[in-house]
């Protein structure tokens, strides 16, 4: 049986990018332990995703098809994945810290009596013990903790998405695809999904944007966000915000960047009136270039910024936008 099992996720019929990333992590662990890597794919219809998983590095795929797995119904997916785990008995389980995985991973661990490490950025095998060692941000990103699994039980590792690169797809790779029928008892579904309400923000998605412009408490109210929105339009960027600005009701929470908001990875991240608290930086530190306009020269944001203006945005922002416009038009 494969010793490393990945909780696979699908986007419609295709493999979700996080699953490719997890397979790459699994392969790097397998290079040390010699284990086979399996992926469980759970949905009402799985399509070609099994082959995709194999081409990205899986040795085996369990196709878990059930009409109850069509929706992001956490209880159903957890029950199904628990059955796969009980059958496979892996010693490492990899789960992405996604809306589904962040609940499924820890709940599975508690069911199996296994240890779990949350939100890991680095995952390796300790050569002395053969156990998993992982590095994860704690205290809102102020600190990093390196943890290792004690004892000898199963190890559940919840990995932060967009941290690892998937392997190059190789269509000629071979692997074993097994249909894994599950029997999900109705009584396992304790939370019923009634409806999903999507708040569409117009324009580029924050997570995909190459340029993000964000405002914080220093903007002082909702109106300046309209000015930032104009700048977004000129630059073809997306609008972000700090939690303080969202909590104040100046802008919707769907714009929040940070530990408990969105993780962004733009080439250019322009912040205005954001202090750069570690919990904010947790969502944007992978930005290639951070720019800060802040009147406090000691603000933490300048520690991560490539370019900064120490000054009042009321004065600096209009001339900045005007110049950006001129440069664009010329």
């Amino acid at each position: 049986m494969p010793g490393i099992l990945v909780f696979g996720e699908l986007n419609q019929d295709a493999l979700a990018s996080v699953t490719g990333e997890l397979i790459a992590v699994a392969r790097s662990l397998a290079a040390e332990t010699g284990d086979d890597v399996a992926v469980a794919l759970q949905s009402s219809s799985i399509g070609d995703a099994a082959q995709e998983a194999i081409s990205l590095g899986a040795d085996a795929v369990y196709r878990v098809e059930s009409p109850m797995l069509g929706e992001p119904q956490i209880d159903a997916h957890l029950a199904a994945f628990e059955q796969v785990c009980v059958h496979v008995q892996p010693h490492v389980v990899l789960v992405g810290r996604t809306p589904m995985g962040r609940d499924v991973g820890p709940r599975l661990a508690f069911r199996l009596g296994a240890a779990v490490a949350q939100d890991c950025l680095e995952v390796a095998i300790d050569p002395d013990t053969g156990r998993v060692s992982a590095t994860r941000p704690v205290y809102g990103g102020n600190a990093m903790a390196r943890v290792s699994f004690a004892g000898d039980g199963a190890q559940v590792v919840v990995v932060r998405p967009k941290t690892f690169e998937p392997l190059e797809a190789d269509a000629s790779r071979k692997g074993e695809v097994t249909d894994f029928p599950v029997d999900i008892d109705e009584s396992a579904i304790k939370v019923r999904l009634v409806e999903t309400v999507t708040e569409q923000s117009e324009g580029v998605r924050l997570e995909d944007a190459g340029i993000v412009v964000a405002g914080g408490r220093g903007l002082g109210g909702p109106d300046p966000f309209e000015t930032l929105q104009e700048l977004c339009q000129v630059l073809g960027g997306a609008l972000g915000a700090s939690r303080a600005a969202c909590d104040a009701g100046w802008i919707d929470h769907s714009h929040q960047v940070g530990l408990t908001g969105k993780t962004i990875t733009p080439d250019l991240y322009i912040t205005v009136g954001i202090s750069g608290a570690s919990q904010h930086m947790a969502g944007c530190s992978a930005s290639k270039n951070i720019v800060a306009i802040n009147r406090d020269a000691d603000a933490n944001i300048f520690k991560s910024a490539a370019y900064g203006v120490v000054g009042d945005w009321n004065k600096a922002l209009p001339s900045f936008i005007e110049t950006v416009r001129e440069l664009r038009d010329s």
């Binding site: 508690f110 240890a115 600190a143 990093m144 608290a277 370019y307 009042d312 001339s319």
Partner: protein, 266 residues
């Protein structure tokens, strides 16, 4: 019938401690609280208290706050009482470690059972020290409760169930569950209320129930950590910020745009 609500609240190092004052003791692998900055009730747990108090107002509830830890600062831990919660129970025992969530979840589950009849367990979405977001999931699994995470709104329905709006990154999800259930609360629920003077006076007169791990029947194997903390360190950033200047702020703004063009970023 009023609801019996348990809120799980943790005492944590103030997460708003400025990064410059954030220190780690490398030998003990612990965060050293900055001088003069007292601990706080975990922010999301105050959101959970707020959710409980809103239910108390709408359908009637008895609200018990439970905390597991050690080195409790009573003025801090009484804040939920001064906001309007009814009772406080502390599991005060340094043997319950919190890195891996396991022992804490078992301790909370046992304490919740000891409190007695409950309809709803409310937790914060995550504690701002280890940022685990795991303890509530463990409590729900141990107690066999329906588990709903990231609530931004909780309604008690006439039929005895609850309807919860779960905050998603782009919108929200509406789910139903029967009681008893466990729900974790996110900041989207809204700012927690401030303690009133009357609340503070009433809280001053209340004394918490205090248990040790042994009172809850926790044995050594339950308390044994499942994760080792091998290292705890402050990440270093090697980024250097180029400060853009000008005759005045407006000029600096102009120069910033020119600089970004020069660097081919816009």
């Amino acid at each position: 019938m009023p609801l019996n609500i348990v809120v799980c609240a943790k005492q944590v190092v103030d997460p708003e401690t400025p990064a410059s004052a954030f220190r780690i003791d490398e030998d003990s692998k612990r965060v050293v609280p900055a001088a003069g900055i007292p601990p706080v009730v975990n922010g999301f747990d105050e959101n959970a208290v707020e959710a409980a108090l809103q239910l108390k107002e709408s359908v009637g509830a008895n609200v018990t706050v439970i905390s597991v830890g050690s080195g409790f600062v009573m003025d801090v831990m009484k804040k939920p009482l001064s906001m309007g919660a009814d009772e406080l129970a502390l599991v005060d025992d340094p043997r319950v470690t919190d890195l891996d969530a396991f022992a804490t979840a078992v301790a909370l589950a046992e304490a919740i059972k000891k409190v007695g009849d409950f309809d709803l367990v409310l937790c914060g979405r995550q504690a701002s020290d280890w940022d685990n977001a795991m303890v509530p999931l463990g409590v729900a699994e141990i107690l066999g409760l329906p588990c709903v995470t990231l609530a931004q709104k909780i309604e008690a329905r006439e039929d005895g169930g609850i309807t919860v709006h779960r905050a998603l990154t782009d919108g929200y999800e509406v789910v139903n569950a029967n009681l008893p259930a466990l729900v974790t609360v996110s900041n989207e629920l809204g700012e927690p209320r401030y303690p009133t003077l009357r609340g503070i006076m009433a809280a001053g007169r209340k004394s918490p129930t205090v248990w040790s791990a042994s009172d809850l029947g926790l044995d050594e194997s339950t308390l044994a950590p499942k994760l080792n903390l091998d290292d705890l360190f402050i990440p270093v950033s090697d980024r250097r910020c180029e400060m853009i200047e000008g005759e005045d702020d407006a000029d600096a703004g102009r120069n910033l745009a020119l600089k970004l063009r020069e660097a081919r970023l816009i």
